[in-house]
């Protein structure tokens, strides 16, 4: 595979955009730079872009509205990693609601950004989602549960909230994105890697058993996540997107 990932970096600060660009180029990527929304659209129209790194706080059109417009236009399939200025719950939730695939908080390290970019591209390429979940809906229903994809927690039939750890959420998200499809441990490991590359990840089996426990799957009878001997796991429930909080 001689494909070189083409990354579009959109930031109003010239130095940041160039340093990020240089770093990504050194790591074998093709990079285009844009200072604002106009330049971003121009680049998107003239070449194929694999991923957009988008600064949230920009004068004029800010990153959030650019992201929303992207999701409504013809480039809706291009993954977006947001650069947010604050490590704020609200910003993160809004960003994810606007259709961003991930985010990095300023000030970030280039290595962290590269890891995020690689993870998002890997996710998009390895298993193209058969549900446009990330763009389409905040609420996903399966079995007796509802998943709030922005607040990242589960709700039962009574509306009681069951919090998920980051890893549990990522794993559930992968399962939900690919229902009725056998996923190998390697695939799961790749797709659910934590935010930090060097972070200690538990074994997938342990994580799956934790998630099963949360979903109420017993050791014998498994309603949600079934084990496929010597192959991996399959999410066996049908998944329904819910328009709003209903």
């Amino acid at each position: 595979m001689s494909h070189t990932d083409h990354i579009l970096v959109v930031d109003d600060d010239r130095d940041i955009r160039q340093m990020v660009g240089d770093y990504l180029r050194r790591n074998g990527m093709r990079v285009s730079l844009a200072a604002d929304g106009r330049e971003m659209r121009a680049t998107l129209d003239t070449s194929d872009v694999d991923l957009i790194v988008l600064d949230v706080m920009m004068p004029g059109e800010d990153g959030l509205s650019l992201c929303r417009n992207l999701r409504a236009g013809k480039h809706r399939a291009v993954p977006v990693v947001l650069l947010t200025a604050r490590d704020d719950e609200t910003d993160r939730i809004i960003g994810l609601e606007m259709g961003a695939d991930d985010y990095v908080t300023k000030p970030f390290s280039s290595r962290e950004l590269l890891a995020r970019i690689n993870a998002v591209i890997r996710r998009a390429r390895m298993l193209p989602p058969n549900l446009q979940v990330s763009e389409a809906s905040r609420w996903i229903r399966f079995g007796d549960w509802r998943l709030d994809t922005t607040a990242r927690h589960l709700l039962d039939a009574d509306g009681t909230v069951y919090a998920l750890s980051g890893a549990e959420f990522r794993l559930l998200r992968v399962f939900i994105d690919h229902p009725q499809r056998v996923l190998s441990r390697d695939q799961l490991l790749n797709l659910t890697q934590g935010r930090d590359a060097e972070a200690f990840d538990r074994s997938i089996d342990l994580l799956v058993s934790r998630l099963r426990q949360r979903l109420g799957d017993g050791a014998r009878e498994q309603t949600y996540i079934k084990t496929v001997r010597s192959e991996g796991y399959v999410f066996s429930q049908p998944v329904v997107l819910v328009g709003d909080g209903a």
Partner: protein
């Protein structure tokens, strides 16, 4: 005065209501009593002078009549001569003492005057309760005549005490009503002011009621508007500073990363991380006063604590749950998570290993404990460390890389959410941070 006033005064009026009731009630009762006393005094005076006038006109006629009657017919007439306060007896006066009161002497003198000093009067007091005295004289035929005087006020009408009582009841009812009218809007205002939100997100106070109270409400609303504007401005300034700092810090960080790897580079990156953490937490703290909670959700706290701890465990940190109970309660998961993370981060920085506990305390409140075996905090500093930028000088304060804001933010968020945060030193060393959730987010324990 009243002896109980001298004695240690147990019940002190504290409220405006009791003050008003006391002042108005006692004042009205005293005024009432005074006017009745005056009325009765006047009435007694009038009765008395009437009695004296009657006596003065009556006695000479009666005595002259008895003088003219034959001795055996007198007893038939004395009953007719009897009046309300005196009567005539055909016998000598009973044994008694000399007159004791001026009034008695005055009456005797009056009788003497009325009779034109024609008789020798032998007055004596025969009874003091009721006051009664007898004035003996000798008729011209040598037989004794005694005038028995029993001064008495006019009897009071039956209905009068009832009218008095009714008046007092009416007065006290008016006092109660007036006091209620005055104090209730105040109490309502105080309750509403207590619910006011400094960030100006709550509803303004209702400007109703008596004009004084409405004015106070208006003034408080104005104050709240100013405070809210102030808070908003402060937050805005800090957000602007924070944003403007983030960009140069990001540039700095990216630039340092292009340097050749060296111990110097590591130190620079460490410093930059510290600066950016400070900027971030400073902003968090400034924003904390106006944190938007949103509506609470029904939260499974057990699952919640497990998820927080699992995140730490996935990063390889030594965080554990040592005790848990099943609790479902109203709560704000995002804020709660932030508080717990700050407490756990703090404990990790000082002790390296952390234990957490979910329990119901003896008063029924849900508590989450964060426990460590670190150096603890000197008892006199337990409150101070919750203040922003407070640093301990001893071993606990050094080289942890914290900003001094983590606990302050935790406290601020706890208060915004409705709860209490308490630090205490553990037996055997280490610190315990206890987060208690408010009762109005009532716990219902499952299973």
């Amino acid at each position: 005065m009243i002896p109980s006033l001298r004695a240690p005064w147990r019940w002190r009026p504290r409220t405006l209501r009791s003050h008003l009731v006391l002042i108005l009630g006692v004042g009205l009762l005293v005024a009432h009593a005074l006017s009745f006393a005056l009325l009765f005094g006047e009435r007694m005076q009038a009765t008395r002078s009437m009695m004296l006038r009657n006596l003065y006109e009556d006695v000479p006629v009666s005595v002259a009549l008895l003088e003219h009657l034959p001795a055996d017919q007198r007893s038939a007439w004395v009953n007719r001569l009897e009046r309300r306060t005196y009567r005539y007896l055909l016998r000598p006066a009973r044994a008694g003492t000399p007159l004791a009161t001026d009034r008695a002497r005055q009456v005797t003198g009056l009788i003497d005057d009325a009779l034109g000093h024609a008789y020798v009067l032998r007055p004596r007091a025969v009874s003091s309760m009721p006051e009664r005295y007898e004035v003996e004289l000798t008729l011209r035929d040598g037989r004794p005549l005694t005038i028995e005087v029993t001064p008495a006020p006019m009897p009071v009408a039956r209905w009068l005490p009832w009218v008095l009582a009714a008046q007092i009841v009416l007065l006290l009812a008016c006092v109660g009503f007036a006091v209620r009218l005055a104090t209730r809007p105040l109490a309502q205002l105080a309750a509403a002011a207590g619910r006011m939100d400094p960030a100006g997100q709550g509803a303004p106070l209702p400007q109703r009621g008596p004009s004084e109270v409405a004015q106070a409400a208006q003034a408080l609303n104005l104050l709240q508007t100013r405070v809210a504007a102030h808070v908003a401005e402060r937050t805005q300034i800090l957000a602007a500073i924070s944003h403007d700092l983030q960009t140069p810090i990001t540039r700095l960080r990216l630039r340092v990363e292009t340097m050749e790897a060296s111990p110097e580079q590591d130190k620079l990156i460490g410093d930059i991380d510290h600066i950016s953490q400070l900027v971030r937490e400073g902003l968090d703290y400034a924003r904390g006063a106006s944190v938007r909670l949103g509506p609470p959700v029904r939260l499974d706290l057990t699952a919640f604590l497990e998820s927080v701890v699992a995140d730490y465990q996935d990063e390889g940190k030594a965080v554990q749950i040592v005790d848990r109970t099943d609790v479902v309660q109203q709560g704000h998961p995002q804020v709660l998570r932030r508080i717990l993370q700050n407490l756990i981060d703090n404990a990790l920085a000082y002790a390296g290993a952390v234990e957490t506990r979910l329990r119901i305390d003896t008063t029924g409140r849900t508590c989450i404990d964060v426990l460590d075996r670190g150096p603890g905090i000197p008892p006199d500093q337990l409150d101070a460390v919750l203040k922003p930028f407070h640093r301990l000088e001893a071993s606990r304060g050094r080289s942890t890389g914290g900003t001094g804001l983590g606990l302050a933010i935790a406290l601020q968020l706890t208060q915004a959410m409705g709860g209490t945060l308490r630090l205490s030193n553990r037996e055997g060393g280490g610190l315990q941070a206890t987060l208690s959730l408010d009762d109005d987010l009532q716990a219902d324990v499952q299973r």
